[in-house]
Point group: C2
């Protein structure tokens, strides 16, 4: 039983401790840090937290985080709307965007099929993906999900839902990471990278 | 370079990432968590953060966190005002209070002498401790600081400042932790626990 010298302190610690991965000790450390800093810092953090939850919405088309009905990516005419990359959450959108290698659009599932966590297909943005494909011209769907059992299950489920459409259905390449040494690569990854070998293309060396 | 789909999201992540021990990935995870939860949760956290910083003050006597001029511990008549336990910060007050073994009052230094971090005696609440002792009847000072070089330095500095007062000056017992096995206790602790051995008292067994 911890006895707090102040109700306000206890409340702030309790609220922080509700965040994922934050225990009560860490929460206490954070609040004491804020108390030592200028008042403006706490005000800025508190307001940012309230504002982001109140004002953020999700894109009507791709479910990416947005401040408008249609997100900036879906609104961008320079992007290829016939190419849709399906991802688990918006962190994956940000990760792929930061590669500068993709010029299509996205579809954010907002999760992955995981019976253990009680997440089935109905909890995810799958119906809107099906509708999006039936209503628009879509050439290819790229499944960019985690290379886990849940990821594979989700890919297979979506594949079954989409297989009657006349579209290409691909998944991101799985293989040895760039810069990795073969002897430290796990055997499943290495095995798949041999089975899924690709023709040699020296043009990527940019000689 | 991470490209955020929303300014509000970026701001919230940046503010979270200013907290100690929170990197940008963790900050992002926290904000996405709040976005998935009900709006009330974010509002509660945001308001608690702003409120705690705006409304908390420090006790005029002991510098413990308080919502009033004098904290509840200093105001408590059942506590022994002639016994002052000197601690580094309010977490130590809370830790000692949770033992239910101490009925004196506290003095929070708000840090520890640490030349490496640029913290000298003037940055700490030491003058107010000296004044407190010269103005009031104080029988004993218990130094409850970390058993580190910085802790020992601070104890020695305060001892020198207080040695002309007619008070007892003690430090908390250092030794083998309750439940620890001797073979896993470090040799410095074990050595000190032998040098500072105490007469056997079977009454603590509560037979």
């Amino acid at each position: 039983v911890i006895s707090f010298p102040s109700k306000l302190l206890e409340e702030a610690v309790n609220e922080f401790a509700k965040l994922p991965g934050i225990g009560r000790r860490t929460a206490m450390r954070m609040v004491l840090h804020l108390l030592k800093e200028k008042e403006e810092k706490s005000t800025a953090l508190g307001k940012a937290i309230i504002s982001v939850r109140q004002n953020i919405r999700y894109c009507d088309i791709c479910h990416n985080i947005s401040e408008t009905e249609i997100c900036s990516l879906c609104n961008d005419n320079s992007r290829d709307n016939s190419l849709i990359c399906v991802v688990e959450d918006i962190r994956d959108v940000m990760a792929i965007e930061s590669t500068n290698q993709y010029k299509g659009v996205y579809h954010v599932l907002n999760g992955i099929i995981s019976p253990m966590d009680g997440i089935g297909p109905n909890e995810l943005n799958i119906e809107s993906l099906v509708k999006r494909i039936s209503d628009n011209y879509v050439k290819e769907i790229i499944m960019a999900l985690s290379t886990t059992i849940e990821g594979d299950t989700t890919i297979f489920y979506i594949y079954k839902r989409l297989k009657d459409f006349n579209i290409s259905f691909s998944t991101i390449a799985k293989g040895v990471a760039i810069g990795d040494e073969l002897e430290y690569t796990d055997e499943i990854t290495l095995g798949r990278s041999i089975v899924n070998r690709i023709p040699y293309d020296y043009s990527i060396l940019k000689i």
